[in-house]
């Protein structure tokens, strides 16, 4: 599944990030395949989404979230 398809408050494990620029940028922030994140916020009309990683929330645009392949964790 893509991160853009995940409902709020759901935790997921990152499998792969398919866009190279986004991938490198997120890796430099510690968001690498294998880490668990929680989707915290979704702006209306397919606006940005935000996920919690560590002690901060990181927001990216909806279209970019589609590049992040994830595996939902059992809630």
């Amino acid at each position: 599944m893509n991160l853009s398809e995940i409902p709020k408050q759901r935790s997921v494990k990152i499998l792969e990030i398919t866009q190279p620029f986004l991938r490198t940028k997120l890796m430099e922030m510690g968001v690498v395949p294998g880490v668990e994140i929680t989707l915290t916020l979704k702006a209306p009309f397919r606006g940005p989404i935000a996920f919690a990683y560590g002690n901060t929330q990181i927001s990216i645009r909806f279209e970019d979230a589609a590049f992040i392949k994830v595996n939902p964790l059992a809630s």
Binding site: K25, L26, E28, G30, Q57, I58, S59
Partner: protein
């Protein structure tokens, strides 16, 4: 000796910078880019050492123009003869992210001091970092725990810096590992990032203990602030408060500034003999200085609110919420506050675009900001509406005059969005860019940070845009006060022979004289020469002069018209309105008709009739290219639309 300050965004780096340097700081731009460069002096062991604040970054490999500044600075270190110590600030609650950047800088062989900041917040998050074992792991680097907001740890930091400086001067000057900086390939950067982030996380495991998870409860408020309905309601309220404050509250200090300088001008007029020097001082220079200083209240108020929203953490929630709405127009969630504040005044609005991280989105926002109808247009709009729009009710509840005023505002916004959309299609994005923003935890605002921001913005405006504004306003004043002397003399003689003049009171005579003098000034001649060009828009030469002089500020239009019509200021606007209504061409046609009035209002919606905006736009883009493009494009647009309106009505 140089100190360089590095760190992730939102790690409290600016707070630390302000703590260390106090008010002893300078703001400028990094070479070639419009990214704030702040330098200041720090007192370390009896000597003053320069400290440079670099933009927040996650990695030494740049992913944005701000991060590129850090990369360029690191590349230049080897050429510098000065010994250098880097201060790396990390957020104690996100230690691994900070250690990632730290490890890159450490591998470059720069002597460092690690500052683990915001330990109060990490305490509250249930995070404990073992200072001893962290120091042991990073054997060559002193580690200081701090809460820069309250100044906790400042002395320990200064000691650590002093030590690191001593160590360094004993050895030879370090040289940056250029091999690491040369990695340009994304795949290589990724491999490097994977290794580093794994190492940083491992190190964190050794030194960090987490007690409990409290994150869920503190994020509940975010659900409300970004709620599809409530989120927008809250943000609208915030915007209304900002707008009201910049619009209304600033009027009070602006009046004081104007009155104060008027008083100075009167004092000078009394103490200096009449003549060219007195004229220049009282007519050109002091009004010019007023024209600069009068913007300070608006700048101060807008940046008070922006800094407040930013420092507390609310701004990133608002950006998150608004991004989708302005994105189709090539803008960013960050564009909303600058655009809205441009409806009070484009000067602080354009200055506020500096917060937009993406250079293309920033340029688009800055470019269209002057189309937002600012408060200086209101006197022009209201005068013209009262002259040409009848007082009529529509549908029983709405005033036609009010509706027209609303339409003028709407026109500006709609065209701004259209131009933004066009720019989005044509402008190229420099390099790759991505919208990626941290939404930091809420913090109580830090007043020192806020007031430093306000102070810096005022300083930058006065020092870097003030000179241009002053110089250009003196030019316009000179053009409207001087003219071919023989011609002026003749015109005055002719006026004095007229019956209208002979029966007038002393006061009226003076008014008539200044009208004639303005008519025969260089600006007046310019207006008359221009008449054939502006006649198709429905304007005569008097309006031409008024438009020309209102480059100083749009509201000057009203003042110039009252001079030209020898109008008593004390008589109020009502009588000026009546004068304009009755003004006719020699053939008996009315000058101010519905068509020419609307054409003129539309002209003021579009035309960039404000040299302060040009000066600020130059300062914020680093060259005259963009402001001149704005001036000509909006000039052409104003001409075309006014022509269209005049022909239609």
């Amino acid at each position: 000796m140089n100190l360089l300050l590095f760190g992730n965004p939102n790690c409290g780096k600016s707070t630390l910078f302000n703590l260390l340097t106090g008010m002893r700081q300078k703001v400028g731009n990094f070479p070639g880019v419009t990214v704030d460069k702040k330098t200041g002096l720090v007192a370390v062991g009896g000597q003053s050492i320069s400290l440079t604040d670099y933009p927040g970054t996650y990695s030494i490999y740049p992913k944005s123009s701000e991060e590129k500044v850090v990369f360029d600075a690191l590349n230049e270190l080897n050429q510098q003869q000065q010994p250098t110590v880097g201060l790396v600030v990390v957020d104690a609650s996100n230690l691994d992210r900070g250690l990632f950047l730290f490890s890159q800088l450490a591998d470059l062989k720069i002597p460092l001091v690690l500052i683990v900041n915001m330990i109060d917040l990490s305490d509250r998050n249930g995070i404990t970092i073992d200072h001893q074992s962290l120091s042991k792991e990073l054997s060559c680097t002193p580690v200081v725990f701090m809460n820069a907001r309250v100044g906790l740890g400042k002395n320990r930091l200064l000691q650590a810096i002093e030590e690191q400086i001593k160590n360094q001067s004993a050895e030879n000057h370090f040289s940056v590992n250029e091999h690491i900086l040369a990695i340009e390939d994304l795949t290589q950067q990724e491999n490097d990032a994977l290794l580093r982030s794994a190492k940083a996380k491992e190190l964190c495991k050794k030194v960090v203990t987490k007690k409990n998870e409290t994150t869920q409860s503190k994020r509940r408020i975010d659900q409300w602030l970004t709620h599809p309905v409530l989120g927008y309601v809250i943000f609208s309220l915030v915007l209304i408060i900002i707008f009201q404050a910049v619009f209304t509250l600033s009027a009070i200090p602006m009046d004081y500034i104007e009155q104060g300088l008027q008083w100075v001008s009167q004092q000078i007029a009394q103490s200096l003999p009449e003549g060219a020097v007195q004229d220049l001082l009282c007519g050109g220079i002091i009004p010019g200085i007023t024209g600069v200083l009068v913007f300070i209240p608006q700048i101060a108020l807008l940046f008070f609110f922006i800094a407040l929203l930013e420092d507390s953490g609310y701004l990133s929630r608002a950006v998150f919420l608004m991004d989708r709405l302005v994105r189709p127009f090539g803008m960013n969630g960050r564009s909303v506050v600058p655009l809205l504040s441009s409806m009070a005044c484009a000067i602080p609005g354009i200055m506020a675009t500096r917060g937009i991280p993406n250079s293309k989105e920033r340029l688009i926002t800055l470019f269209v900001a002057p189309l937002m109808s600012c408060s200086a247009r209101i006197p022009v709009y209201t005068l013209l509406i009262s002259v040409v729009i009848p007082e009529k009710q529509i549908a029983g509840i709405m005033q036609l005059q009010g509706l027209v005023l609303f339409a003028l505002y709407a026109l500006g916004i709609i065209v701004a969005l259209m131009i933004a959309w066009l720019l989005k299609q044509f402008l190229k994005q420099e390099g790759q860019s991505i919208y990626l923003m941290e939404i930091p935890d809420f913090k109580p605002p830090h007043w020192r940070n806020i007031f430093t921001t306000i102070f810096d913005k005022i300083k930058v405006f006065v020092l870097e845009a003030g000179g241009i504004i002053l110089a250009l306003s003196i030019v316009i004043w000179a053009l409207s006060n001087y003219g071919p002397s023989q011609e002026r003399e003749n015109a005055l003689q002719q006026l004095k022979s007229e019956k209208q003049y002979r029966i007038a009171t002393e006061e009226d005579r003076q008014l008539l004289e200044s009208a004639v003098l303005l008519e025969h000034s260089y600006l007046g001649k310019f207006g008359k020469t221009l008449e054939p060009a502006i006649a198709p828009l429905g304007y005569d030469w008097k309006i031409g002069i008024a438009i020309g002089s209102s480059f100083l500020a749009r509201e000057v239009f009203v003042g110039t018209l009252s001079t030209l019509y020898a109008h008593h200021e004390e008589a109020g606007e009502f009588s000026l309105r009546e004068k304009l209504k009755n003004e006719t061409y020699p053939d008996g046609r009315k000058k101010f008709t519905l068509a020419s009035g609307i054409s003129l209002m539309v002209f003021y919606v579009f035309a960039l009739q404000c040299l302060s905006t040009l000066a600020v736009s130059r300062r914020e883009t680093g060259s005259w290219r963009i402001p001149l493009l704005q001036l000509s494009l909006y000039g052409v647009l104003a001409y075309g639309m006014s022509l269209l309106c005049y022909q239609l009505f």
